[in-house]
Symmetry: C2
Subunit: 470 residues, 2 copies
């Protein structure tokens, strides 16, 4: 007879689970011999005064997990089960120092460049587009999608960037993914082993980390002159890929003039495998003048790979970016990524499709352009009022951030520490100084984002900045 500890006050499912758990424990503790016969269901049911069904459920679960086996017309037997190796006891207590502190953001103000504003985001329109997507794409939602993203969505993006950025491409050339990082990784994975890349410094530090550390590629860092990436250094570099941000240099904000653009395109044509990656991350926002046409639109020889994103124009947390591959890269891309399951949520992508198609996206852009322009002007006015001769703002009316130079005796580290203590989120240009070219020399440069700060908080944010700088 087996002794089982069961509590009959618990009914239904719970009774069979108790019996199953008790038997399982005894088997693992080797209280049975291997191949020992279990009591017939009827006997155990009688002994425990439960229904045969209850015993059947418990035995079936043990059977499914391999604790016992059954012989037809004979009964149930204990499996031969390997013993757990004994090892010194390892505490499963989670190490205290790895606990994530719950960040208290109360009272913080942000002049971070990495944000967008949700205050005017047309969530209602977004949900409307989502309902349309649900209605029309049930089948597409049930199945794994094309590695480059749904054709319909690529078609909509191709049309849109054709009109807004002069980008000439077919939907076939578009690869949608969850950010510039996976796109870059995918693009580099189809290049020959000896590929070398050059990029701007100061520049996009996350891409530098990805290329140099994750992908372990040789990366040439190139300084800027007045026209953007220094063409003489580019010519001298062994790189055959260039990563640039011509529409609004990240982070200095410079717009690359037409002459440098032509010089870069001419550089690409000088050798057979030279390419330019154009990261067009925030070109939707241009104040005072129209948008600057993309570099890709000037390229007649398929040497530019255009990178676009909805991170600034929608929300950074939506994670929708795309690249436009030259046709000659397509076959290689598709071969290499045939087994890749697309990273984006298909429902979100179809939602985006209807959001663009309905005109909601363009209205949103118009509204945000006006809204950001107002905030930008207010912030610049306030900064000028407070800092006077001690500030020089590189005032390029584009994007969601600008760089300002401050006269101060304080070092970068001191200002960073002070802003933190004053609960002001702001980043200095040192973060993007990939060659460590920024040392303190009577002034420091800060990257000032104006996307998320509220109009009514601008005065207070600038006041905190003044406290940190002086």
């Amino acid at each position: 007879m087996i002794l089982l500890n069961i509590d009959k006050e618990q009914h239904g499912d719970y009774l069979y689970q108790q019996i199953y758990q008790e038997l399982k424990k005894k088997i693992l503790e080797r209280q049975f011999e291997a191949h020992e016969k279990l009591p017939p269901k009827r006997t155990l049911a009688k002994q425990l005064d439960v229904s045969i069904n209850t015993i059947t459920n418990a035995y079936e679960q043990l059977l499914a997990e391999g604790y016992i086996y059954a012989i037809e017309r004979s009964g149930y037997y204990i499996e031969e089960i390997t013993k757990f190796d004994k090892h010194r006891h390892v505490s499963r207590n989670f190490p205290e120092h790895l606990k994530e502190a719950t960040e208290n953001r109360n009272g913080w103000l942000s002049l971070s460049h990495m944000t967008a504003d949700t205050a005017l985001f047309p969530f209602k329109e977004w949900l409307k587009s989502e309902r349309k997507a649900i209605e029309n794409h049930q089948r597409d939602l049930a199945e794994i999608n094309h590695p480059q993203g749904p054709y319909l969505v690529r078609e909509t993006i191709a049309k849109f960037i054709g009109l807004s950025r002069g980008v000439a491409c077919e939907p076939e050339q578009i690869v949608i993914s969850a950010g510039t990082q996976p796109l870059m990784q995918q693009l580099m994975s189809i290049q020959p082993e000896d590929t070398t890349i050059a990029m701007e410094s100061p520049g996009y530090s996350r891409i530098y980390t990805l290329l140099s550390q994750q992908l372990q590629m040789p990366v040439d860092l190139i300084s800027l002159d007045d026209n953007g990436i220094d063409i003489e250094q580019v010519e001298k570099s062994a790189a055959n890929f260039l990563f640039v941000t011509p529409s609004h240099h990240f982070p200095t904000g410079k717009i690359m003039p037409i002459s440098r653009r032509i010089e870069l395109l001419n550089w690409a044509l000088k050798e057979e495998h030279r390419y330019i990656i154009e990261d067009d991350y925030d070109s939707e926002f241009k104040y005072e003048t129209d948008n600057i046409p993309s570099l890709q639109s000037l390229d007649q020889h398929d040497r530019v790979i255009y990178f676009g994103t909805f991170s600034k124009s929608l929300l950074p947390t939506f994670r929708i970016s795309y690249m436009v591959l030259p046709p000659k890269f397509l076959e290689k891309y598709q071969e290499k990524h045939a087994d890749l399951i697309h990273y984006n949520n298909t429902l979100v992508l179809y939602t985006l499709h209807y959001f663009i198609q309905s005109g909601a996206y363009e209205s949103h852009l118009k509204r945000m352009n006006h809204y950001y322009e107002t905030k930008r002007n207010l912030l610049i006015t306030e900064l000028t009022n407070v800092f006077g001769d001690d500030i020089f703002i590189k005032d390029i009316p584009a994007g969601l951030h600008f760089v300002a130079k401050f006269n101060t005796n304080k070092t970068y580290e001191e200002v960073e520490l002070a802003t933190k203590e004053l609960k002001l989120e702001i980043y200095s240009i040192k973060r993007f100084s990939l060659k460590n070219e920024y040392k303190h020399t009577e002034n420091i440069e800060l990257v000032i984002g104006f996307a998320i700060i509220k109009k009514e908080d601008i005065k207070e944010a600038v006041a905190r900045l003044a406290k940190a700088i002086y």
Copy 2:
């Protein structure tokens, strides 16, 4: 005097754009000398009979793009612009053979294992959860998220898999990403150079491609015996990582019994850096008995890395998966991925949080379990009726697919071709035969998914299959 071709019938913005475009064209065609002075705004306005404002707008845009420069109190001058290098003309026509054919899925039926059913998906509840997410997380939506995903969502997942799968973990250990592929890539990126991995064959071919081709790692393919991955081959292998699917082997459906589980855990403990990746891809669906507890729940020494996904339980196109890292991997992970921007849409993740919290997820799982069980039974009955002695179904009541063996003279290739012609989507086990162990020997094995087929289509699907097999 400059001759400009403008059409005054177009008003407003269009007029200045015409002037801008015309001037731009002339500058690029070198009809001006470098440093040539442009006519004063007033003169040109008079000449063209337009407002000075129109000319100002055109000049400002040319200035922003670097076609001209301004000298204060003097006027506007043509920039010195590099000439485009002449190259042989490249046609920008998109190559015909790269065009994606629009697939016509009309009339197709699917027994694919890669699907889920949207018919009962509670989109209404999902949208309700999304509205809650929008209401409560505006700030989180505006800023780049934690590389592992929002803490709140990780907390909810940790709680859920604690209850449903016995997985013991803290939210800190959870990494959310857009599928098993990026998770595997991230996990492998923090392992030493000499890491070798072993996996089941037949097995998950996409993971095999990722490991062997993309990551170029040595991969040991291990056969299955009656209890799952062959422990003797595992012991002989030089691998220190094992990738297994113990709850429902992919694709054969086998459930790894407790004794093999213990053997694997014992194997891991024999050397210091041995780990087991448990891919628990469809354990939510278990018919007749309860769920099988996870391998991670048996592990007392942090040697199991648990992989979970919402691809089967929600929809494959939602792209939400996660892994549970042993605490000792955490610091390395965070250091290596400090610059990684999370791949998932934060709004979707918070939506998931409320979807689980409200109980909608559990209700959905219950409903789907019942629904899939019914379809599964109908399909098995129909297959048995039609194929009789010519079919052997490996009938493990779990997951969203099973494997069936058919007696037939036809080869794998012939059956695959025939099903295609009959518009029946179905995959053979050859696709997962990583060691090419499946040759035709009087029978063939097919992986039969029952998630997406409609009840009323089962008869027709099996009829098509019979036509293809006989």
